[in-house]
Symmetry: C2
C-alpha cells in the first residue's frame, strides 16, 4: 500500500495548539494557487528533481557504472558534504541491513561497504585512509560546482595517495558533478576520470535521486529502479491541486499554518525505525536550507527542523515536546510491518516490571510506543501527524523522499522565499577564502577585519 | 590549558540580536543568588553528579570490573536508552579512535568493540545478535529504575539467548542500576549477576560519570581517571559565585538571557570535531529534558537544544542560522590542536578552485571554517560563543561534561523549574503500559479511549 499521511492530530480544537480549523479550511481552498506556482516553476525548468525518477538515461549512468565495476571494490568512499553526503548516508541506513559496514563480505553478498567523509576532520580522514585497502577502494567525489572547499581538499589528498600507491586513478576515482560547469569536468577530461552528471537544474539538497545518491546506492546493491519508481508514484500523486489527495500539499500547508497561525515553528521529524534515523537528518537539510531565508521585502522566515528518533528520544527530547513551549509540530513515521520481529520471552512471570512484556514482540512495543507518544502529545495539545509506510523498502523510501521534496517547494511558495538558493552561506565562505588566502577574497578580508575581536573581559 | 569560553559574540550591541548589555550586567550581579540556590541543592544531597568525580570507590567498581574481565570479550553491548545510551556513545566517539568498531583487534589494542542498543527496533537487535559471538560478548544492562520498558524487553531477549547458547550468564551480563531499588537488584542477587551502582541521587541524564558511562569506558580502554580528574577540575572552577571566573555560570546565564531578553530560545551546540559529534546529542538530552517543563504556576518554558556539527552542517543548517529568524544561539566547540593533521597537496596549481588549498592543512581548514562561521553569524547579528579545548582527550571531555551539567542546574534555577525530574514523559509511558496490558494501567486505558480517533477525512 502507498504511504499514508494522517493529520487528525494537527487540527484544533481537538488538539489545543493545533492549526485552527478555519485557517485550514480557507488555506485548503487557496492551495490551488500554491500548486500552480509550483507547476509554473516546473514548466520553467527550475524543478529538475521532479524529472529524476523518469530519467532512465541518467539512472543508467549509475546502474551501468556499478555493473561495470562489480566485484572490484571492498569499500566505496564518498567525498562530499551537505546533500552529497546526507542522501547517500540516508539510503545506506534505510535500505541496507543494520551494521552494514561491520558485516563480512558474505553477509553483504559481495557488495562493498560505504563510507561517507562529510567533514574535513583530519583525524577521521587519516583513520579511514588507514582502514581501507586503496587497491580495493573507489572514491566518489561529489560536488555540483566542483568548488566545494571541503570536498576539494579531500580530493587533493586522495588524489595524491592513489598516485603514491601506484594505482590507476581512473579505476579508483569517479566524479559526480555538473554536466558542463565547474573545476571537476576539465580534470575528468584531462585525466580520463569517469564523471557522472548532476543535472544543472538539480541542487544539492534535491539531488539524492540523481547519481549523487543513485551511484553509491547502486554500488552497494540497493534497488535504484524500485526507489525511483516509488518516487515517480509519489510525484504522480502530488500532481493534483486537490489537497485532499495531495500528501505533499497537506504536509506543507499544515506545517506552514502551524508556524504562522499557531506558533509552531519547530518541525520535528521523528521516525520510529532505526532504518530512518539518518533520513531525518536528510530532511533537516532540505527543510532548513530551503526555507530559512531573508524575505525579499526584509525580515526573516523559516521553521527550524529537528531530527528525532523513536522510541529512543522519548528518553531525551519528548519531555520538552510534551511540557515545553507549544512551539513544535511532530511528524511521526511509523512502519506497519516490523520485519524480522522478535518475541520477548516471559522469563520473569513474577516480576511486575518485566512480566507484562513477556509474550509480546519487540516490534509491537515499538509501535505501541509511537501511538502512545502521539496520543500523549495530542492530549497535551501538541500538534502531530503520522506518515505510515508498510515497510522500509526502496519503493516506500522513494515515496517519502519525493513527498518531502515537493512539500519543500510548496512551503517555499507559502513562506514567500526561493527554496532553491542558499545565499546565507556565502559570507562564511568568503571569510574562509579570505583566511585561506584565496585570490579575489581581499574584500572579504577587509570585512573580516571589521568584526569584533575576542574581548579578554568576555573570555573565561 | 583548561577549557576556555569566549562569549564576546553573545553581547549586543556588537552583535545585534545578542544579549542586551544592561541585562547581562544586572544579571551578573544577581548570579550569587543562582549560585547559592545550587549550593543549597548540593547540600541537601540532590546533586549527586557533583560528587561523582571524587568518588573513588564508585570509580573503582568500574575499573576493577573491567580489569577482572580483561581479554574476555570482543564485543561489549550496552542495553540502555536515554542517558544510559547517550553517555557511553559520546565517550566512545570522543575518546576512542574513529571507526572504533570497524578496527581489528590489533588496532584496538585488544580492547573490545562497543555497541549501544538504544532502541527497540527488532531489525537492529536481530542484526547485532547475529553479528556478535555471544561467547565473547558482555551485555551491560543499564536502567536506574530497573523498570525501563525498552531496556527490560531487550534484557529478556538477551537473557534467553545466553541460556539457549549454554553460556554462564554471570559472565555475560552485568547490571548498572540503583544500589537498592528496582527490579534488577533482586534478580542480580538471585542469579548471581554482578551489579554496579548508580547512586540514588544521580538521574539518568547526569549519570555519565557514574558506572553508566565509566563501566563501558573502562572496558574499552578509556582513561576514566583522567576523565574524572578533568570533571573535578571544572567542578572546582565552578564553585565560585564570581561569574567572571565561572564558565558554567556564564554559559547558563547567557543562554537564559538570550532566550528571555532576545528571543533566542533555540540553543545550537556545534562542535568542529567529529569526535564530539555524539557529545552534542548527549547535551541535547541534558538541556531538553532538564529545562522543558511546565512552571509550577502554569505555563511552559524551556529552550530547544539542537545538535549540529561543523564544518558539515555549514552545508545543511547554517543557511537557516544565518538568515532565518533570530531565535538561536550557537555554541561552537573548537579544538586548538588538530591531532594527526594532514597536509593538502598542491596538485593543481593552475585550477583556481583548488590551488588556494594546496600547502594548507585539513585541520587548518576546519579551524578557519569555524572562525569564519562564527564571524559571519556575528556580522549578521546572530549571537554565538565558543568553547575551546586544547585537545579532545579524557581530561578536556571531563571538563566539558561537568561544565554543562552544572550549567543545567543554574539554568533550572533561572527558568524556575526542577532540572532533575521529567514528569512529561509519564503520560506516554502510561499509555504504553495500557496498550501492553500491564496490570494497574486501567485508568490510562480509559484515558486513551477518550483521545481523538484517526479521522478518515484527515488521512491521505
Amino acid at each position: 500500500m502507498a504511504l499514508r499521511l494522517d493529520y487528525t492530530n494537527m487540527l484544533a480544537p481537538a488538539v489545543a495548539h493545533g492549526v485552527p480549523a478555519d485557517a485550514w479550511q480557507s488555506a485548503a481552498r487557496e492551495f490551488t494557487r500554491v500548486h500552480e506556482a509550483a507547476a509554473a516553476q516546473r514548466t520553467s525548468g527550475a524543478l529538475g528533481f521532479l524529472d529524476l525518477p523518469g530519467d532512465a538515461a541518467l539512472r543508467d549512468q549509475s546502474v551501468r557504472f556499478a555493473e561495470s565495476r562489480s566485484g572490484s571494490y571492498d569499500d566505496i568512499v564518498v567525498l562530499g558534504i551537505g546533500g552529497s553526503a546526507l542522501g547517500p548516508v540516508a539510503l545506506r541506513t534505510a535500505l541496507r541491513p543494520p551494521y552494514w559496514n561491520l558485516l563480512d563480505a558474505k553477509r553483504r553478498r559481495g557488495s562493498p561497504r560505504l563510507h561517507v567523509l562529510d567533514n574535513v576532520d583530519p583525524r577521521t580522514m587519516a583513520a579511514l585512509l588507514v582502514q581501507v585497502d586503496l587497491a580495493r577502494t573507489l572514491f566518489i567525489i561529489t560536488s555540483k560546482s566542483g568548488g566545494t572547499a571541503e570536498t576539494m581538499a579531500q580530493y587533493l589528498i586522495v588524489h595524491e595517495r592513489l598516485g603514491a600507491a601506484g594505482l590507476d586513478r581512473t579505476r579508483h576515482l569517479v566524479f559526480v558533478t555538473d554536466p558542463r560547469q565547474g573545476a571537476l569536468r576539465p580534470i575528468a577530461e584531462r585525466e580520463g576520470i569517469p564523471a557522472l552528471d548532476i543535472p544543472s537544474n538539480v541542487g544539492g539538497r534535491f539531488s539524492v535521486l540523481s547519481p549523487v545518491g543513485m551511484l553509491p546506492a547502486a554500488l552497494i546493491g540497493i534497488d535504484v529502479a524500485a526507489l525511483l519508481k516509488g518516487a515517480a508514484a509519489m510525484g504522480d500523486r502530488c500532481a493534483t491541486s486537490d489537497l485532499s489527495r495531495n500528501p505533499a500539499g497537506a504536509y506543507a500547508l499544515l506545517q506552514w499554518l502551524a508556524d504562522t497561525h499557531a506558533g509552531a515553528h519547530i518541525h520535528v521529524m521523528m521516525p520510529y525505525a532505526d532504518a530512518l534515523r539518518d533520513f531525518a537528518s536528510w530532511f533537516v537539510q532540505l527543510w532548513a536550507e530551503s526555507l530559512g531565508k531573508i524575505l525579499p521585502a526584509g525580515g526573516s522566515v523559516g521553521p527550524t527542523p529537528l531530527a528525532a528518533l523513536g522510541a529512543t528520544d522519548q528518553h531525551s527530547q519528548v519531555q520538552l515536546f510534551m511540557e515545553g513551549p507549544p512551539d513544535k509540530t511532530v511528524t511521526f513515521i511509523g512502519v506497519a510491518d516490523a520485519q524480522g520481529d522478535i518475541e520477548i520471552p516471559n522469563a520473569y512471570p513474577d516480576v511486575r516490571d518485566l512480566s507484562y512484556l513477556g509474550g509480546k514482540s519487540l516490534g509491537a512495543l515499538l509501535d505501541v510506543e509511537r501511538r502512545a507518544t502521539a496520543g500523549a502529545l495530542a492530549k497535551r495539545g501538541r500538534p502531530n501527524m503520522t506518515m505510515t509506510l508498510d515497510r522500509v523498502d526502496a519503493a516506500h523510501v522513494g515515496e517519502l523522499i519525493m513527498l518531502l521534496e515537493i512539500a519543500t517547494i510548496y512551503a517555499g511558495a507559502l513562506y514567500g522565499v526561493d527554496p532553491l538558493n542558499q545565499p546565507g552561506v556565502e559570507l562564511g565562505k568568503q571569510f574562509t577564502y579570505a583566511m585561506m588566502g584565496r585570490p579575489g577574497s581581499e574584500a572579504a578580508r577587509r570585512e573580516w577585519d571589521t568584526l569584533p575581536k575576542p574581548d579578554p573581559r568576555h573570555i573565561i
